[in-house]
């Protein structure tokens, strides 16, 4: 990609008003290392192993009660759309866990 040098003088020249140069913001660093909660309880190994690389557990556990088919579709969407590297062999255990903790019985 061709990058052209771009001077401050040129910048100031093209505006109708050379606004007062605002003080440049300071660098910022925050701590984003908290992984957040994992899934707990019986059968949570598969979902923790496959899903928590991308997200913590809260939003999943805050879902309305969904059918087994809906949970299967959610897992499929994570894999197909968001390219989550889920071990195919673990899918039944993940769906089973979700249907147990946030299932609607259907």
């Amino acid at each position: 990609m061709k990058k052209l040098a771009f001077s401050l003088t040129a910048l100031l020249a093209f505006g109708s008003i050379a606004a007062l140069a605002a003080e440049a913001p300071k660098s910022v660093k925050i701590d984003l290392s908290n992984p957040g909660p994992y899934f707990t309880g019986d059968g949570s190994d598969a979902i923790n192993a496959n899903c928590t690389a991308c997200h913590s557990a809260e939003m999943v556990l805050a879902q309305p009660a969904l059918s087994r088919a809906a949970w299967q579709a959610e897992v499929g969407k994570m894999m197909k759309v968001y390219k989550a590297s889920v071990d195919e062999q673990d899918i039944p255990a993940i769906v089973e866990y979700l249907s147990k903790v946030r299932g609607n019985g259907s």
Binding site: L4, G15, A21, A24, V28, I30, G36, P64, K83
Partner: protein, 405 residues
């Protein structure tokens, strides 16, 4: 609407003023979603960088933080440390070097720009008040419920944004004939190896409308990192999905953007209020775009106990969507009759507007309060809620059940 840990308040005009403090003292909140499961812990100070304590913790990683309704009662500008947070991917830089950062403008242009923050801030300054609202704000109230971020009504906020017009940047780069769209990308990255990088696009005409801007400050301060430091796109009147955070790349395209986040995601039924029946199939869809009018009562939570036959003041916020607020109406009888609310100062077409109404409930028992906004286009909030499988664009007249005692 919210019930604060099922605590009931006897509400008078003076008691209402103390609600925000009470809300902050709570450690969890129940969003009161249909079918339940709406209890969330509240954030602790320092837990999410510059964000305050008391935000509704929807997810730690990638962060989803909701602003409690009580915050909107404090004023029409949402404080930066209480402004909601929404990220798709968890790979968010935890630091940005303000000296090394560059914004690139490139693609179907005469030249490529690479701008430091100092250079950007030396450009003609543009400022606008505008509501930033998640496409899925209030998704948790959809009936039947739909999967997704189960937000209450607090995935929104209003700020005064300061920065430069996108038009100025594009003009300087020199948009070539045949430009169709402008695509925006930020520093966040997918957490899965082949996951789709989050990018959004606007048409070239929209990008050059003189209101779409690149903001380096909100409410007079640098953006909190989780709201997009150092730069974010501001698209007044449009849903927040377009307001790309940590914006570092602007690409002019000579064709339609086919990336996942434009072509597949964030689609709505191509109908008024983006609504359909849950059993409908093959409904034509279009990309989500402009916002619709909404309004909220901010000083009276659902299930409040209110003194009957005594004067009470209701107040709240309204916004017109992609136009200004023309009128706000208030009802104490579930929408059978309406009184015109008094509007507060107009801080700008796209921002929150304060409203107030005095009322007296006629006698003890259950009552339903409602508030309704009409925008300057003449669009009014609908009586019936919309529904779509993604939980987008809720804009129904909200009801607040209360008990007069």
């Amino acid at each position: 609407m919210y019930s604060l840990n099922r605590r009931r308040f006897l509400l008078t005009a003076s008691a209402a003023a103390t609600l925000p403090k009470l809300a902050r003292a709570q450690s969890s909140i129940d969003l009161g979603l249909p079918g339940g499961n709406g209890v969330h812990t509240l954030t602790k100070a320092g837990e999410f960088g510059q964000k305050s304590e008391g935000l509704i913790l929807q997810r730690t990683r990638a962060p989803l933080l909701e602003t409690p309704m009580s915050v909107f009662d404090e004023g029409v500008f949402t404080p930066n440390d209480k402004f909601y947070v929404r990220w798709h991917w968890a790979d968010i830089p935890d630091s940005v070097d303000a000296e090394a950062f560059r914004l690139t403008v490139r693609g179907h242009t005469g030249k490529t720009l690479s701008l430091s923050l100092r250079e950007l801030m030396a450009l003609p300054r543009f400022e606008i008040a505008a509501v930033n609202q998640c496409s899925g704000n209030s998704r948790g109230f959809f009936a039947p419920r739909v999967p997704g971020g189960e937000w209450g009504n607090g995935a929104m906020g209003n700020a005064r944004w300061t920065g430069v017009r996108l038009k100025d940047l594009l003009d300087h780069a020199g948009v070539k004939p045949g430009a169709r769209q402008v695509r925006f990308n930020g520093l966040d990255q997918p957490t899965s190896p082949d996951g789709p990088d989050f990018m959004k696009s606007l048409t070239i005409d929209h990008a050059r409308d003189g209101e779409v801007m690149v903001a380096y400050a909100m409410n007079g301060r640098p953006l909190p990192l989780l709201n997009g430091f150092p730069l974010r796109l501001v698209v007044p009147g449009w849903y927040a999905t377009y307001w790309v955070k940590m914006l570092n790349d602007i690409e002019v395209l000579d064709k339609e953007d086919e990336n996942f986040w434009m072509k597949t995601a964030y689609k709505i039924p191509d109908r008024p209020f983006a609504t359909m029946r849950p059993d409908e199939k093959d409904v034509p869809v279009v990309p989500i775009s402009r916002m619709l009018p909404r309004s909220f009562i901010t000083n009276i939570p659902a299930q409040s106990r209110i003194a009957a036959t005594a004067p009470v003041k209701a107040r709240g916020i309204a916004f017109g969507g992609d136009s200004g607020v023309k009128e706000v109406d208030f009802s104490t009888d579930d929408g059978k009759s309406w009184q015109t609310a008094k509007l507060g100062k107009d801080e700008g077409t796209y921002g929150f507007r304060r409203w107030e109404a005095d009322f007296t409930l006629p006698g003890p028992g259950a009552h339903t309060l409602k508030v309704r906004c009409t925008n300057t286009r003449g669009e009014t909030q609908p009586d019936q809620p919309n529904w779509n499988p993604s939980g987008y664009m809720r804009s129904v007249i909200e009801a607040t059940p209360v008990e007069a005692v």
